[in-house]
Symmetry: C2
Subunit: 423 residues, 2 copies
């Protein structure tokens, strides 16, 4: 056991060192070379479809034998259609502008020094995710385009599928004369592989975990490497007393029902007391027709009899399902106070026709995305117009909300002088 | 013991909770109110000078009794002059533009959604530093101006001085009708206070440690809160074969000697083989006249006989002193390779009259600040024109190089719609 743990750590160290060296080369690569690699990745995924799908069939067989839930297996399954979506996703990244080398700002100092703030890649990015094998190619393509080497650690249940996808991606890198170590898969499905990875702060610059709360907390507790978390969304829609109630119903219904399993779906509906009597009966009827389970505070129960009561725990629960907690509030400020106390600072919306109410809400709610008269479901890299998405940061540092190519970069200062020294 | 540790944790939790609540209020404060608080801080430091200096005398007495080094005691000592520098530093922050509320970018989506990326404070910032009591007021003023509550944990040896300064700052906050908890000092000089602080990731948004390598590594290992490190600088000046050698001598001398104890001072001088014979004898003579101890590679020893040899360890050592390692390199690429291998990605310079050489160096060296024909000593918030500095980040995430007001902020997206929902 000791020998195999030591050899795992050696393996991880070797992979991380190679990634660091590859990152230096990739950082200097010109846009056409990076795009050629991406184009090759798309072709290789198509060419190697049979091998990828065969590996996936084997993963799925093992997952069924291990008794994994049907929801998890559904996320794991690849077919021709999903593989073609992966190909299209890579092709769309080719069309995005290369962020590397952009001069973010420049200025001249009184002593003649010219200072330029230039965008550069982060370096080596470690991504830890669960289940879905399409994440492997999506993250790899975004990292390569932004000049970063990437270490991918997918779920144990998709190990074989990811290895097959990784082989296709590496072949494309080789053909484009870029180091294969630009994209690396952690060489074990063992949990100890993650622990070993999280100690390599000299070689890995940032960890981006995507998954459940328990996984993310474990990573934060273990990691010596900075982590950008993609954690939970407890999102609210607040229906103001100055709301257009038809618009409010449309927005709230969309925020809850359009895709309830996503982090930007609404989990709690807050309604101003002044409109609750007019708004709630019809709204809740429509939600219940769509099979949404309602958990309500006492005031809502008085307006719509027969509702199940919400517990204290409901207010901070991310259901990711057709369940909704509902609360009547006395004021806009009470809504803000509820969001501050129970929310997760992900995405929160006000529906109001009064611009001063909107501004009070926008100032007071400190979430990654604050909406006025729109669905919370728009918190997404594509919907924001960023062209892609590596995830949605729920942290405050470095990047907040949807993360795409720019968010995978940092900057350096380049200072041009003519012999200046400090006095 | 168990009781007192539990009560320390309770105290820390209370302080952090109050800071979080204060941060929400401060985030919404208008610029004039924040400036009024800063102005009051400056006045209060002057008014309460006697109490502050008395507390400092007592700190210094204890430090002497404990046998602290004279260098450490020099950093600890306050006098009228240093107190007035603290006052002026706060006044200069009043004049800086308020970063909060700035619209960093805005765009409209085809569906009519208007997206604004708006600058907001980070929240609660924990600063852990050593010794110098002036850091207390500098950090407090920068955090308040940028809308952040701050938890300050200075060195144990300056506990009394910091408490006296903190009392003055809090009085000013109260007078400006801002919560006193906008600026809090950790209520113990005990090391356990730091450990307790680093667990409070629900209340503290970021830790900025300033100090020695051992302190910073301990914090990174312990913290559940994201850390922006202000670690060591192993800075290089590379004298190219196309350098103006008189300029090279001026820059190298300044980078080493102007203030050797700073993180942006040069620790290693790299010289192209083609100019070493002409450059090194005069350069090293000048440095030795300024009492710089030289540690040289074999090639330099052959050019200037009698030099002490550099060991492998020298190349990655931050001397912070009048010591310099010197190496002759075969090419610009060899210089870059040395900087990559031994440097700390802080500040590195090339001296060259050839712009193509300069560009090769600038592209290949991935340091927070890369200089062409200027001293590395310019890596500094004031010298960069940022007006202030909370430190120099050696991390790649969130902020790199000099950190001032903007770097103490993050952003949120505000999205204005007219009823848009996801299809």
């Amino acid at each position: 056991m000791v020998t195999s743990l030591a050899s795992l750590q050696d393996d991880m160290l070797r992979v991380a060192r190679e990634a660091k060296a590859a990152a230096a080369e990739l950082a200097a690569a010109a846009t056409p070379q990076k795009n050629a690699a991406l184009s090759g990745m798309a072709s290789r995924l198509t060419q190697q479809a049979a091998a990828i799908l065969a590996a996936n069939v084997e993963d799925v067989r093992k997952a069924r034998a291990a008794g994994l839930s049907s929801a998890l297996i559904d996320r794991l399954v690849l077919d021709e259609r999903r593989l073609q979506e992966m190909v299209r996703s890579i092709e769309s990244v080719i069309d995005l502008p290369d962020p590397v080398g952009e001069v973010i700002a420049s200025w001249r100092r009184p002593n003649g020094l010219e200072i330029r703030k230039v965008r550069v890649p982060l370096g080596v990015i470690g991504i830890i995710y669960e289940s879905r094998p399409n994440v492997t190619s999506e993250c790899a393509s975004l990292c390569v385009k932004s000049g970063n080497a990437v270490l991918l650690r997918g779920g144990a249940e998709s190990f074989g599928s990811n290895q097959a996808i990784g082989a296709a991606l590496k072949a494309a890198l080789r053909e484009a004369r870029l180091p294969q170590a630009c994209v690396s898969l952690i060489p074990t499905a063992d949990r100890a592989g993650v622990d070993a990875m999280l100690q390599l702060d000299q070689w890995i610059d940032v960890i981006i975990p995507r998954g459940g709360e328990a996984l993310i907390q474990k990573i934060v507790d273990t990691s010596r490497i900075p982590v950008i978390k993609h954690a939970k969304g407890v999102c609210h829609v607040y229906v103001d007393d100055a709301a257009d109630l038809a618009m409010a119903q449309t927005i709230a219904f969309n925020a809850k029902c359009q895709r309830p399993a996503t982090c930007n779906a609404m989990e709690t509906l807050l309604v101003h007391r002044g409109v609750a009597q007019r708004f709630l009966p019809q709204m809740l009827q429509r939600l219940r027709q769509a099979k949404v389970e309602i958990r309500a505070d006492e005031a809502s129960q008085r307006i719509v009899p027969g509702l199940a009561p919400a517990t204290e725990e409901d207010w901070s629960t991310e259901y990711l399902d057709l369940i909704l907690s509902v609360k009547v509030v006395d004021s806009l400020e009470a809504a803000v106070e509820h969001i501050r106390r129970y929310g997760s600072s992900h995405s929160d919306a006000i529906v109001t026709a009064d611009p001063t109410h909107a501004e009070r809400f926008v100032r007071a709610v400190d979430s990654a995305a604050v909406y006025v008269n729109a669905s919370t479901r728009f918190t997404d890299g594509y919907q924001f117009g960023l062209g892609a998405e590596i995830g949605i940061s729920t942290d405050r540092l470095h990047a907040r909300g949807p993360m795409a190519l720019e968010e995978l970069t940092t900057y350096k200062y380049v200072v041009y002088g003519t012999g200046q020294v400090r006095e």
